[in-house]
């Protein structure tokens, strides 16, 4: 995270950055750049990373499936489609994140509604509903891109590729209540999720209310993912890979791995963002693109190397 404060489009000496941090009220370019641009960007990157990593850990734990990522809930696809349609309709740029957030949450609700069975949700139906709706919304995005042509499509593509450019304290504060609500639900779900790792049969036998746990997890994942999407667009791989690394480090206890996923996500995304800003400066590489370049080889190395444990889940 600290690296993010020292890297950016304007060349600032480390001493100037530290000076600006120590004296928030001081005038000057360094102070303005650090407090108005770099610090909020690092804070947003950390929140996005933590939110996606926790969502991924929650859903992987609930579905006992290591290949699940937060976008399974349909949040990203719904948000992407709504953003594309908003741009087509000529909605002012300031409203776009809110539209993305609302559409993301709405899609998650629809996916959960389609997947419900008995008092809770059925894992297979959830995955099927998530994949189907995502495919439908991707088609809507493609259609919108065709309609917008090359120029207008850039705004949509910036969302789809994930980016933290020109986000500030205002956006962070606007999403904070929802992210906080998602965090509370995640904290409440963790002990039940911990029992659920032994399978729904044992979880039920030891007294877990499976339906309540599922709704808590889905609610938390939807709120956290929608907040992340509203802040940074579609940032892939964090929600898939970080939970794996967290489980490797602290084991399968849901409580420990959720905390570890949050911390790792909060460290990983600012680091990736600092790289995205500096590798080809002054051009910024889209964050989602950079994460895919880092994330995919890491994932493949962790699980496909011949000497490593290749098991992702189960015994």
């Amino acid at each position: 995270m600290a690296l993010g404060l020292f890297v950016g489009g304007s060349a600032l000496a480390p001493r100037d950055v530290l000076g600006a941090l120590a004296h928030p009220g001081a005038a000057g370019d360094a102070g303005a750049i650090v407090w108005a641009l770099r610090l909020p960007r690092v804070a947003i990157a950390a929140c996005v990373g933590a939110a996606l990593a926790v969502s991924g850990a929650l859903l992987q734990g609930m579905l006992r499936n290591p290949l699940v990522d937060p976008f399974l809930t349909g949040v990203s696809a719904g948000a992407g489609a709504a953003i594309a349609l908003a741009v087509v309709a000529g909605v002012a740029a300031g409203f776009v994140p809110a539209i993305g957030f609302a559409a993301g949450l709405g899609t998650a609700l629809l996916v959960a509604f389609l997947a419900r069975r008995g008092g809770g949700v059925d894992a297979e139906r959830l995955i099927l509903a998530g994949i189907s709706l995502s495919a439908l919304f991707s088609a809507i995005v493609a259609l919108a891109l065709v309609r917008l042509g090359r120029e207008g499509g850039d705004a949509v593509l910036a969302w789809l590729a994930g980016s933290l450019a020109s986000r500030g304290w205002h956006e962070l504060l606007a999403t904070a209540p929802y992210a906080l609500a998602g965090t509370v639900l995640a904290v409440l779900a963790a002990p039940s999720l911990n029992a659920l790792r032994l399978g729904p049969g044992i979880a039920k036998a030891v007294g877990v209310d499976i339906a309540r746990t599922q709704w808590l997890v889905l609610g938390a994942a939807a709120l956290l993912t929608a907040s992340a999407v509203a802040l940074a667009g579609i940032v892939g791989f964090v929600g898939l890979i970080v939970p794996h690394v967290a489980r490797r480090l602290v084991g399968t206890d849901a409580r420990a791995s959720l905390v570890a996923a949050a911390l790792l996500g909060a460290a990983f995304v600012p680091l990736a963002d600092a790289l995205a800003r500096s590798i080809a400066a002054p051009t910024e590489i889209p964050l989602g693109v950079l994460l895919a370049f880092i994330g995919v080889p890491t994932f493949l190395y962790l699980y496909l190397r011949p000497a490593g444990a290749t098991r992702l889940w189960g015994t």
Binding site: R64, V187, L188, A190, P191, S192, N194, A195, R197, L198, G199, G201, I202, K204, A205, V206, G207, V208, D209, R212, R247, G251, T252, D253, R255, A309, R311, L312, W313, G314, T315
Partner: protein, 258 residues
């Protein structure tokens, strides 16, 4: 405590009727073996007794209270069911698996675990002979040791009724005997236990009474020598059996057809 009463149970799977007219009483500290052909409804009967699925008709009473009427956590403190599909994710420590049995003794949102819980988990591990394996990964255990770990989870849960679904399947004779001995010990300590077994001779060796399911109903509920009668078994399994008594223990053997 641990008196189980089944009254006029009818169990269904979708539209299909699995079992009908199942009634019996199991006394506290009794070890009941449930046997029957594949698809007879043994697992569904266990799940119904555990309160996981409501019966289509009839009642399951535990110490006079309908199991269905108990809340999730109150039920988990009274009855537990270890299914044959239980598994732990790669790398989970044996102690963590067993400690899960304490879930219903804390508020469901509580992240902490008490010293009392730790002591109970320790004693459950000792009871099944896994104290030395507590920190090992569950998936590094042999099949027999895994079954013992699941039993330790049930012990940690401190329920007065323990239901076990095929705990000796896939076990070699030594581990199977080991499990049977542990189940016997459980009953001796006053816990009522229902065990689904495929091996009729295991049922004969350890059970106080045997429930034979078949033909859509409860064919017999009696001590092994009586319940495992050749005519009952022929009706249940559709093949002829021979019954012998060796050193006071009933043994049954299926006879080759024809």
């Amino acid at each position: 405590m641990g008196h189980v009463t089944l009254r006029g149970l009818r169990l269904t799977a979708g539209a299909r009727r699995l079992l009908d007219g199942v009634s019996f009483d199991a006394l506290p500290g009794e070890l009941i073996a449930i046997v029957g052909p594949n698809g007879a409804g043994k697992t569904t009967l266990l799940r119904t007794i555990a309160g996981f699925v409501p019966p289509a008709r009839g009642d399951v009473l535990l110490d006079g209270v309908a199991v269905e009427a108990l809340g999730t956590r109150a039920r988990a403190r009274a009855v537990t069911l270890i299914g044959s599909d239980a598994e732990a994710p790669h790398g989970t420590a044996v102690r963590e698996v067993v400690a899960t049995g304490r879930f219903a003794y804390r508020p469901w949102w509580d992240w902490s675990s008490s010293d009392d819980d730790a002591a109970i988990v320790e004693s459950a591990l000792e009871c099944v002979g896994l104290a030395d394996c507590a920190e090992r990964a569950f998936d590094s255990l042999s099949s027999g040791e895994r079954q013992r770990a699941w039993l330790a989870l049930a012990l940690a849960q401190n329920a007065r009724l323990v239901l076990l679904d095929e705990p000796t399947s896939h076990l070699d004779p030594r581990y199977a005997l080991d499990m049977l001995r542990l189940m016997r010990g459980l009953a001796r300590d006053g816990t009522t236990a229902f065990v689904v077994l495929h091996d009729l001779n295991e049922a004969a060796a350890i059970a106080d009474r045997v429930a034979v399911l078949g033909d859509g109903t409860l064919l017999a509920f009696a001590p092994p020598a009586e319940a495992l009668a050749p005519d009952v078994l022929r009706r249940a399994f559709g093949v002829a059996f021979e019954r012998v008594t060796v050193a006071g223990v009933t043994r049954v053997f299926p006879l080759a057809a024809g």
